[in-house]
């Protein structure tokens, strides 16, 4: 076993002997930026589509109530059936 090992010296002198007052920290990551962009785009796009649909939402609300009324009438008619028949259905 040797008494010492050689170290490959790739730089004969220290890199920057003295660091500057303000050092560089952090870096911009393209992959993360793309992901953030995709999420922001999806959320923004969904909001835009939703806002467009609100255009007719008031009418939709009224239609819904009208549909509900028809549905309720049907339910009422059905509830007026004889109890025995209902049990059979079940």
């Amino acid at each position: 076993m040797g008494t010492f090992e050689t170290v490959p010296i790739h730089l004969a002198t220290p890199p920057d002997t003295y660091p500057p007052i303000f050092s560089t920290e952090g870096q911009f990551k393209v992959g993360a930026a793309a992901l953030v962009g995709a999420i922001a785009g999806a959320v923004g796009g969904a909001s835009w589509v939703a806002s467009q649909r609100f255009q007719s939402s008031m009418e939709a609300g009224t239609t819904r109530i009208a549909a509900d009324r028809a549905h309720a009438e049907k339910a009422k008619a059905s509830s007026e059936k004889p109890a025995g028949r209902e049990k059979e259905e079940n």
């Binding site: 170290v7 010296i9 790739h10 730089l11 220290p14 890199p15 920057d16 002997t17 003295y18 660091p19 500057p20 007052i21 303000f22 050092s23 560089t24 920290e25 952090g26 870096q27 911009f28 990551k29 992959g31 993360a32 930026a33 992901l35 953030v36 999420i39 909001s47 939703a50 806002s51 467009q52 649909r53 609100f54 255009q55 939402s57 008031m58 939709a60 609300g61 009224t62 819904r64 109530i65 009208a66 509900d68 009324r69 549905h71 309720a72 009438e73 049907k74 339910a75 009422k76 059905s78 509830s79 109890a83 259905e89 079940n90």
Partner: protein, 763 residues
């Protein structure tokens, strides 16, 4: 004897407030302007940059004395740290002006401030000042790894160990172990020129002044940096070049904590003001609750709903009453929100919810990896930007959106905007989910979460720390008042869907009802406190936050932003739900919410602009830089949002209302995000951009909130709806009886239709 709101406020004003103010402000007035006491045996360093030859012997001696491995990360061969870091407590840097004028070395290590900002902010006193030596010490057993010290220190000294599952905060502790053995700190024992010397602070000051006297004109301003700067420090500096060029900012004679936390400290002194506020809130809410219940009962009687609710076993009378009600509602359909009705007829498990679940699982897996690998490998956080999106977005921004239980609740209960009661359950649910997900992620973000147990030992709390206030208040709020406020929909579900549970449910309801005023009052006081403290967090960062954002009004502005953002979140989410599940929209309620939101925004913007004008910071808004860009973007989004809300109120139009909420909330989000990230300037060369894993974890926890919301609105009566919706849900389940019976999922029989006890029994 009943008490009116006016009488109550007058009573508080007459008796409570002067007493609280006397207690909280009086003692501070007595101490105002007094110098910070210097510890009896305060020791420190004197560094004379004009005689430093930059040999770095002190750097090597520091590493040896602290038994830290050489930092060879920049270069495998040489110990050449670029800055202070987890392996380097002492570094020699070089100021070399481009114009070739005088250069200077500077030794950077902890300044051991007399009133340290790091210790002022540390929530559980892990960083504390030794009462005798004045050394700022770090206690590993109390540190939760929140990294608030890295944000608050005006000298950018404490550094965090970004890799590994047991990270430490690293900073110079003046070799306290060597001092205990009667030795000098490592750096001072090897300096060949006497550039850095150790001794009692008073002796070092004398020595510094002697050097200045012996060498007139040699030192910058013939001044010892640290004698008075930032309230005084125990590391003193002499230099021939301006101190600011060496990274020692001009902070003035008052310490950063004394200057920035004055009002915060007064407000929380002895908890006198919060206690008075709490007592007042309880009284107001008790009165409101009584009136509200009476009105609700009358309304239920009017609509026949009361009979239906009381007679869920469906006697002949109630069946008739229900039939009458149905006839009334079917003949005159109304959009008026009368009840909260679960979203029925839509499956809980669908493609979207499975997608959310996948994101959640990915986030949990990555969180596990983060716990093992440390924060560095999974995030873009660094020593300059110690906080990433998990805190600055998921906590600071999303809990603002989730403050609806506070903002809508105060409007409904305290200011008696009765229509807003229809939105309360939505507000409570969104708040609970936003806070729960924010707090969970806070646990992932904490470097040393196992030390969170200190939260149950009040004598370990740092009562002056805004972060302690946030951590304690937020946890208590989410776990007690907010959780309890969300219980009624759960009880309601149990009551309707399983008759066997009714007696128990009724007993719980009775108990809850008794404590409700106290719970609701706590639910308004605690978020008011912690949402403002979230703003106070960045007060301690001082000049490192851009002047367009840094203001003593930051706590008020943060709270104000939370109120209008949360209104936007609650009303916008409700509108979206109505759109998605084809529910009728009650424009009277939505108009009321939009009206309140727009006035909240105008008030907030007025305060923000006046503050900027009076502080003289308006000029910076017209600089061509990113700060001005962010400021104008934020202001335009918020103001356009407010104008759209006004327009929607005038036209009763949901589209501009929805867009108004989106824009104003987006602007508010940018405002809440800015002081910690976009407007935070720790170092001109530093940058923060989240890493992919960081974004995925953040997204996963947001998905958890969304999934929780979707499940809750489909299982519990959360979403407001017209009375007809309630009847239709009954019909819906009646038609699907065979399927429901087969699955056994719903004990469907209690919707007040024509169910007979026998039929119920047959299930």
């Amino acid at each position: 004897m009943s008490i009116t709101r006016r009488q109550l406020f007058t009573g508080i004003a007459k008796a409570g407030i002067p007493a609280a103010v006397a207690v909280t402000v009086g003692t501070d007035i007595l101490h105002a302007g007094e110098p910070i006491p210097v510890p009896s045996a305060a020791v420190g360093l004197l560094y004379d940059a004009s005689v430093c030859i930059g040999c770095k012997a002190c750097v090597a001696a520091c590493a040896e004395a602290n038994d830290t491995p050489p930092d060879t990360r920049r270069d495998a061969l040489h110990q050449a740290p670029e800055d202070l870091n987890d392996l380097t407590r002492n570094v020699i840097k070089l100021y070399k002006p481009e114009d070739g004028s005088a250069f200077s070395f500077v030794k950077r290590q902890c300044m051991h401030c007399l009133d340290p900002a790091c210790a002022a902010g540390c929530p559980f006193q892990a960083l504390h000042k030794n009462p005798e030596s004045g050394i700022v010490e770090w206690d590993a057993s109390k540190c939760i790894g929140c990294r608030y010290c890295t944000i608050t220190c005006p000298y950018h000294i404490p550094r965090f160990q970004w890799v590994g599952f047991n990270p430490r905060v690293t900073k110079c502790e003046l070799c306290k172990d060597r001092l205990a053995k009667g030795l000098k700190p490592g750096c001072t024992s090897v300096c060949p020129t006497g550039a850095v010397i150790f001794g009692p602070r008073s002796v070092l000051l004398l020595e510094a002044k002697q050097r200045i006297a012996k060498n007139p004109g040699r030192y910058y301003q013939n001044r010892v940096y640290g004698e008075f700067d930032n309230g005084g420090t125990q590391s003193l500096y002499l230099s021939k070049v301006p101190f600011e060029k060496l990274g020692l900012p001009e902070l003035g004679p008052e310490s950063v904590p004394a200057r920035t936390l004055r009002w915060q400290r007064r407000f929380y002194q002895y908890f006198a003001l919060p206690a008075v506020l709490y007592a007042g809130l309880v009284q107001v809410i008790r009165t409101s609750l009584k009136g509200h219940e009476q009105e609700a009962h009358e309304r239920e009687k009017e609509t026949g709903l009361r009979a239906q609710l009381e007679g869920a076993t469906m006697s002949a009378t109630t069946t008739n009453a229900t039939a009458t009600t149905r006839a009334a509602t079917t003949s005159a359909p109304s959009n008026r929100w009368e009840r909260n009705v679960p979203v029925y007829g839509f499956p809980v498990v669908n493609g979207f919810s499975l997608g959310l679940l996948a994101l959640i699982l990915v986030a949990f897996a990555l969180s596990g990896y983060r716990e093992l690998a440390g924060l560095g490998p999974v995030s873009g956080m660094n020593d300059a930007y110690g906080w990433g999106i998990w805190k600055t977005f998921n906590l600071m921004v999303l809990t603002a959106l989730g403050s609806g239980a506070f903002a809508v609740g105060i409007a409904a209960w305290v200011f008696r905007r009765k229509r807003l009661h229809a939105l309360m359950r939505m507000a409570l649910l969104t708040s609970f989910l936003a806070y729960a997900c924010g707090l969970l992620l806070l646990g992932i973000d904490a470097g040393r979460p196992w030390n969170f147990y200190w939260i149950v030992f009040p004598w370990r709390w740092n009562m002056h720390s805004p972060l302690a206030e946030v951590a304690i208040c937020m946890s208590i709020y989410a776990m007690i008042p907010l959780a309890v406020e969300n219980i009624p929909p759960v009880l309601e579900r149990l009551w309707y869907f399983d008759s066997r549970l009714r007696p128990g449910v009724e007993r719980i309801e009775k108990g809850l009802h008794y404590f409700f005023p106290w719970i609701i009052a706590a639910a308004y006081l605690l978020p008011g406190m912690h949402q403002s403290s979230l703003g106070a967090l960045m007060l301690l960062a001082g000049e490192r936050v851009h002047p367009l954002w840094q203001t003593p009004w930051l706590p008020v502005l943060y709270l104000g932003a939370a109120t209008f953002m949360s209104f936007g979140c609650v009303a916008g989410t409700t509108m979206l739900c109505c759109l998605m599940w084809k529910r009728a929209m009650d424009m009277e309620v939505l108009d009321e919410a939009a009206r309140i939101t727009s006035w909240l925004i105008f008030g907030w913007m007025g305060l923000r602009l006046l503050d900027i004008l009076f502080r003289g910071a308006i000029g910076t808004a017209f600089h061509f830089d990113r700060f001005a860009g962010v400021f104008w973007l934020e202001m335009i989004l918020i103001s356009v949002g407010a104008l759209l809300l006004r327009r929607s109120v005038r036209d009763h139009a949901p589209q501009p209302m929805f867009v108004g909420y989106i824009l104003s909330s987006l602007g508010g989000m940018i405002y809440r995000f800015s002081p910690t990230t976009l407007a935070f300037r720790p170092n001109p060369q530093a940058l923060y951009f989240p890493a992919t894993i960081e974004v995925l974890v953040s997204l996963g926890f947001i998905s958890l909130g969304i999934l929780g919301f979707l499940v809750a609105v489909k299982r519990f009566a959360i979403l407001p709806a017209p009375l007809s919706e309630w009847h239709d849900m009954a019909s819906y389940f009646r038609f699907r009886r065979p399927y429901i019976r087969w699955t056994g999922y719903f004990k469907y029989g209690h919707f007040g239709e024509d169910e007979t006890p026998e039929a119920s029994g047959s299930d």
